[in-house]
Amino acid sequence: MLGFLIQRLLQAVVVMMVISALVFIGVFAVGNPIDVLISPDVTQQIRLDTIAAYGFDKPLWEQYLAFLERLVHGNFGRSFVFNMPVLQLILSRLPATLELTIAAVAGATLIGIPLGMYAGYRPDSPITKAIMGITILGFSVPTFWIGLVLIMTFAVWLGWLPAGGRGDTVMVLGIEWSFLTLNGLSHLFLPALNLSLFKLAMMIRLARAGTREVMLTDTIKFARASGQSDGTILRRHVLRQISIPIVTVFGLEFGSTLAFAVVTETIFSWPGLGKLIIDSIQSLDRPVMVAYLMLIAFLFIIINFLVDIAYAALDPRLRARRS
């Protein structure tokens, strides 16, 4: 196990190095931020001074090394636009996106698995037809459109839920959270629902396919032959066996939602990371883009690691192979 941990840690360092280089070069290619930083009517001298101050006149590799050096000291630089440390800026936006992502992905998983298992267990029932209808909707209707429909219906016509913003928040561990207040929850509900529909459809499909496959195996036939009820079989035999692909997709969805909840955050004016990154791309706020992309890469590494641990917990054969 220790060997496994060390190996993963080394891998993570290498991956982060590669990502930092790619990101730095990529962002460099997007455009020169100098025109954003200063107004067009300043003197040529000020312009050159500013370029020198930011080091934009140096060759790319020198800028990269300088960046790495600052990175080692935990300094991601300052945002050009917000004029505050980038790390602080990103961390102030992360909780909003984090709680939205958790609500959406966990909700989709907890609801999608039972529905999908039912659909796999009773492929011909009318309820299954209805469930599969939901998945077609979730897959084919674009997120922004569903978001607008949700706002129209629940916020404008019915007036039950707010149309945007985070609502009241509470400080816990020095971080603002919406889900801990009733008002915050009511703000969280619609964007989370909007984000989760596609994931719900995917979880249903996954659970259904897995259940159908596992139900046909000799393992299940043998469990039935020993008199175990269908409920026991689904809960104790099938769920465990279909969980590996579900955990995989859960991890991937979690990471990508964290990184790219942009559409939903924009529609619901949710002050999260997605909005920040779109703004920073528009204003060529290089340090924010770089730090953001590196943070996302880092989160993916962590998620992959947790998914691997979950695999080992779920499947004894993998555990055996690894040790």
């Binding site: 000799d218 043998f222 039935r224 032959a225 009820s229 035999h237 465990r240 004894p316 054969r317």
Partner: protein
């Protein structure tokens, strides 16, 4: 006399597929007495497993039992509600499958799997379940049962896994165990061990056993009576010695001729020519006629079962008995 343990009459299980009706089990009748071992023998696809599943009420759509009766100690099982059938499975009738590599759940420990099988019929504590698991695993010849209880199936050899499966089948001391080729997937030496153990287990526990196999040699070593199945039907049945000595159906003789122990030394084995029929498109009349050396026009009509209750066959031109 009390009711027979098991009385199967005119059982028919058909699958209604898009390509047509598959008559997997057709007009099957047999009896099983308390403590008796019978063998069900036939080529692959002849409907042996489906006969076993029918007894357990484990036929899934598009299949169903279309007619016939299965009486367990006088109680009719055909048409029982699902929950009543579930309560019978594992408790009164149990089944062991062919491939031990696939029957146990790979992600649950042996202890958990046995606990689940016990819980299907009675609520017991984890400690009690463990004790029962150790007892039954020891009974089927698994060494250090209590130490290996928390192992997973992949840590066991095929023979060990099959012993665990047999132990699960024995848990509730069922009246009948259906063993569906439980040794076919195992090494020959393990096969022989498990055969011998099963035989003494059913004798000691007084259980009846239906031993399914495509291997007539295995069946004749186990069973006191033999049912020969072909194309979803029982084409011949009788006491083992009598069937081996005096086969009346041409298919049974074909099976006997292909046994290595029967061939004269140095002679090639005689296989039955042709292929077993598909149960979805059985030849009319005697399903064996395309492969039968004695077939004639009358074989295009279905032969009735003839003989007497404990020794019968379905053939228009039965072989004559060598010894009477």
């Amino acid at each position: 006399m009390t009711a027979r343990l098991l009385e199967v009459r005119h059982l028919a299980t058909h699958f209604f597929t898009r390509a047509g009706v598959v008559k997997a089990v057709d007009d099957v009748s047999f009896d099983l007495e308390v403590g008796e071992v019978i063998g069900l023998v036939g080529e692959s696809g002849s409907g042996k497993s489906m006969t076993g599943y029918s007894l357990l009420g484990l036929i899934d759509p598009p299949g169903r039992i279309v007619q016939g009766s299965i009486k367990l100690k006088g109680q009719e099982l055909v048409g029982l509600p699902q929950e009543a059938l579930r309560k019978l499975r594992g408790r009164r009738i149990a089944m062991v499958f062919q491939d031990p590599m696939t029957t146990l759940n790979p992600v649950l420990t042996i202890a958990d799997q046995i606990h689940l099988a016990i819980n299907a019929h009675e609520r017991v504590s984890t400690a009690t379940a463990r004790q029962r698991a150790v007892d039954v695993l020891t009974r089927v010849g698994l060494p250090d049962a209590d130490r290996r209880l928390d192992a997973y199936p992949h840590e066991f050899s095929g023979g060990m896994r099959q012993r665990v499966a047999i132990a699960i089948a024995l848990l509730h001391r069922p009246d009948v165990i259906i063993a569906d080729e439980p040794t076919t997937a195992l090494d020959v030496s393990i096969q022989a061990q498990i055969l011998a153990e099963m035989k003494s287990l059913v004798r000691d526990l007084g259980m009846a056993l239906i031993w399914i196999s495509h291997d007539l040699a295995v069946v004749s070593a186990m069973a006191s009576r033999i049912l020969v199945m072909y194309g979803g039907r029982i084409v011949e049945s009788g006491p083992t010695a009598s069937v081996l000595r005096d086969p009346r159906h041409h298919y049974t003789r074909g099976l006997l001729n292909s046994l290595p122990s029967r061939a004269a030394p140095g002679q090639p084995l005689t296989q039955i020519s042709g292929l077993p029929p598909s149960l979805g498109a059985l030849p009319p009349g005697c399903a064996f006629h395309p492969r039968c050396p004695r077939a004639d026009a009358i074989c295009l009509t279905a032969p009735e079962t003839t003989g007497h209750e404990r020794r019968d066959w379905r053939c228009h031109h039965p072989l004559t008995a060598v010894s009477a």
